[in-house]
Amino acid sequence: MSFRLTAAPIDPSVQMEALRDVRTGACVTFEGRVRDQNGGRAVRALEYEAYGPLAESEGDRILAEALGRFQVTQAVCAHRTGSLALGDIAVWVAVTAGHRAAAFDACRFIIDEVKARVPIWKKEHYSDGSSEWINCATGTAKG
């Protein structure tokens, strides 16, 4: 079990090596990628900034909660920091379990909780040259 921040590109094939286990019949993964638009604005690139110590401890807490709530064997998550291009993997979650239902449920739980709780911030850069910290507008909230 580990939640990891990384400034280097996430390579799922490398990450998967640690999850090989003949006792597990199911492996569910989620890949969050950089999308080319948000709220109708054309996105050119983005950057993630994290509060390292608390992001990793809170991420590990979420994985531990998933292991406690669902019948799963392993749960891991990696999240990027730094500058990302369109299509890059921003976050990657993998869960192994004896059976698929628990693996799907746990994977969904982890990505939802990571987005809501882990101190990581996203700045989007738009094709018109402007940029914005997501969810930090003082007028209307964006996400």
Partner: protein, 80 residues
């Protein structure tokens, strides 16, 4: 008077113009300290939009600020 270390991230880092500073303060709680800094530096986010971390763990706005504490005011998160 006590001295605390404050680290800034994301929008607060940009609005403050630095990543970290030592702050001498009379504030007795994290809420009072943020209000001091918000007025001083013109932070756009009210405390109600933020969480606070003390010494690398989530803290509470009403907890006493002690000399030597490391505080972080956390803007709304947006991972994933």
């Amino acid at each position: 008077m006590k001295t605390v270390r404050v680290r800034y991230f994301a929008i607060l880092r940009e609005q403050r113009g630095l990543e970290e500073e030592k702050v001498a303060t009379m504030a007795s709680t994290a809420a009072e300290l943020y209000e001091e800094l918000r007025i001083l530096h013109g932070f756009t986010l009210s405390a109600g939009r933020l969480r606070v971390a003390v010494n690398d763990e989530f803290g509470s706005w009403g907890a006493a600020v002690r000399d030597g504490d490391a505080l972080v005011f956390l803007p709304p998160v947006a991972g994933g």
